[in-house]
Symmetry: C2
């Protein structure tokens, strides 16, 4: 079996998860190099990795480069992806910079693994919110066609990087400390934070904004869900829109998804598709997944399937997945696995 | 101006808010009595109230009785409401027991204040999740008709009573304490709770279940939204369904609401209706309300109005309100105010 010269670029929350996924999935590695802005040594699950400064540009020999670039930190793939490609590497980019470009496949293997073959050196990993919705819905789209999707997200802080998750923790910790000897009715719920992530306090709050606002009132995150879904499912006719909301959870996004099928479908037929869908763990009846339990796992969890009592072929589902794994690192590693087939 | 003999039954989170609302709105009170399971003295905003044991059944002379009965604690109105009514009182009941009964008006003053007149001694206060949706949508229904409503809620813990809000606080506090000297990457996120509210940890988590499950997979909370909306707007043809989710917020529910109008409507027309709607504070453009800021205030805050780019006459809004005030106590006091007119 061929082994590959692999590079991981970026060692933020997603980069760390990529290193874990490569290890746990026994990716066929001949040689692993790790790049970040500055050289240093890091330890992940007891293994030490030597991080090279990316500015040195010694990218020779790399066959597959996984760019971790989280949603918040742009730049590395814009600056360096083409340099890796020029030296012969295939780049899998987790960032948003190239996702919608015509000659860049945007891939969720469960939905469109064959698109990997059309790459011209660069393959894009979709947004976390999109990926788990696609895993849940692609089987239904294949069988019945999707006419309409309405998605409301409950997004974890780590989707905006480690600093954002730490902001949640520090805010909660500060509030506990300043309220130490107070009765419940007297607790002070507002806190100043030193972290320059999010526009507002996230502890004990929800923030209905992820990314910047477009003129039409939608955020960039909400448009990613639309445009990326159209591209991955190769169907611009799906009438999809969303409301994306940050919630005080560390890791794992949850989504309330409402959808309408083109062909007639009943509850049993949709349930059968979900049970058989690749990458999905389906919860029947009144059981459901929780973000706290899902953190650190690889599947997309689908629960609470309900028929809309008033609209034919319309259903609700509840979808939870680890935004750093299936929503980012794992999906990127799965794309890399497709390259090795 | 006539003054009334008023009783408040129940001194949980909603009962306390009713006492505050009666005071802050200068309700015309001749005599105020407070009842609960057991006699005691309580202090609310510096005022002492003598609480009588309801079991003594000395309800003579009460003209208006406000039953606080939160969603979680049923019983008082079932046991005692008719006894107050027999002795001449009009009962406003915040509980769910009588809301759908044919001869009981279910009232959100902004939407259907005239329904108060049809009471036969008992008037019901709707569910918190329903009330704020109705305040936001009733003007739009009046002008354009509502064809369809899809609602996803982000509900605060206090909606399940004080113990539920305390559970969130105690879980957060315990987690901060057990992780006191740990690095962020090593924090332990699961905690055992002594509080027998909710089926799961709510701190740093979201729970897609409020109330019990019906056979069709919807929860009782989700059906309340449907049935109460139909009754209040006096229109069973509105095709409405919802997903109701508990989030780690103390007070103030948020809702992502998608709706379709019957008559043609554009963004400017909907915006105008929202700006003019009674009880609504409308946020234009990219500004929005946060549950943390809304706690303790009386309005229903509507923001993030967006047109669905793919479906005619379809829009999203983001709606936030204090679930204990407009969602419960304030609405009940407003109903009582209608009785005094």
């Amino acid at each position: 079996m061929k082994k590959y010269h692999v590079a991981v670029v970026g060692v933020g929350v997603v980069g760390i998860e990529i290193l874990k996924c490569l290890k746990s999935r026994s990716f066929p590695i001949a040689n692993l190099r790790v790049f970040a802005r500055s050289a240093r040594a890091i330890e992940v699950e007891g293994i030490e990795y030597e991080v090279e400064a990316i500015g040195d540009e010694r990218f020779d020999g790399v066959e597959i480069a996984l760019f971790a670039g989280t949603e918040g930190e742009k730049g590395a793939s814009k600056l360096y992806a083409h340099k890796f490609i020029e030296k012969g590497a295939i780049v899998v980019d987790n960032g948003a910079d190239f996702r919608l470009e015509h000659d860049v496949p945007l891939v969720v293997p469960e939905a469109n693994r064959d698109a990997v073959k059309n790459h011209k050196g660069l393959i894009a990993n979709p947004n976390c919110t999109t990926i788990q919705a696609i895993v849940a819905l692609c089987g239904i789209h294949r069988e019945f066609g999707l006419e309409r999707i309405l998605l409301t997200s409950f997004q974890a802080t780590s989707g905006a990087g480690k600093k954002a998750a730490m902001k949640l923790w520090e805010e909660a910790r500060t509030l506990v400390n300043i309220n130490r000897n107070k009765e419940f009715d007297e607790i002070h719920k507002d806190v100043d934070s030193e972290f320059d992530v999010f526009s507002h306090q996230i502890a004990f709050n929800v923030i209905p904004q992820i990314g910047g606002f477009a003129e039409d009132g939608y955020t960039s995150e909400e448009w990613k869900v639309v445009n990326e879904t159209h591209k991955i499912l190769n169907d611009d006719s799906i009438r999809i829109s969303s409301t994306c909301v940050r919630v005080p959870v560390f890791t794992a996004h949850s989504e309330a998804i409402y959808f309408e099928t083109k062909k007639d479908a009943d509850h049993a037929q949709i349930e059968k598709v979900l049970k058989d869908s690749e990458g999905v763990k389906y919860f029947a009846d009144s059981s459901f997944p929780l973000p706290l339990e899902v953190e650190g796992t690889d599947l997309t969890y689908v629960a609470r399937l309900r028929r809309d009592p008033f609209n034919k072929n319309c259903f609700w589902i509840w979808v939870v997945a680890d935004n750093l794994r299936k929503g980012a690192a794992l999906n990127a590693v799965q794309i890399a696995e497709e390259l090795t087939k």
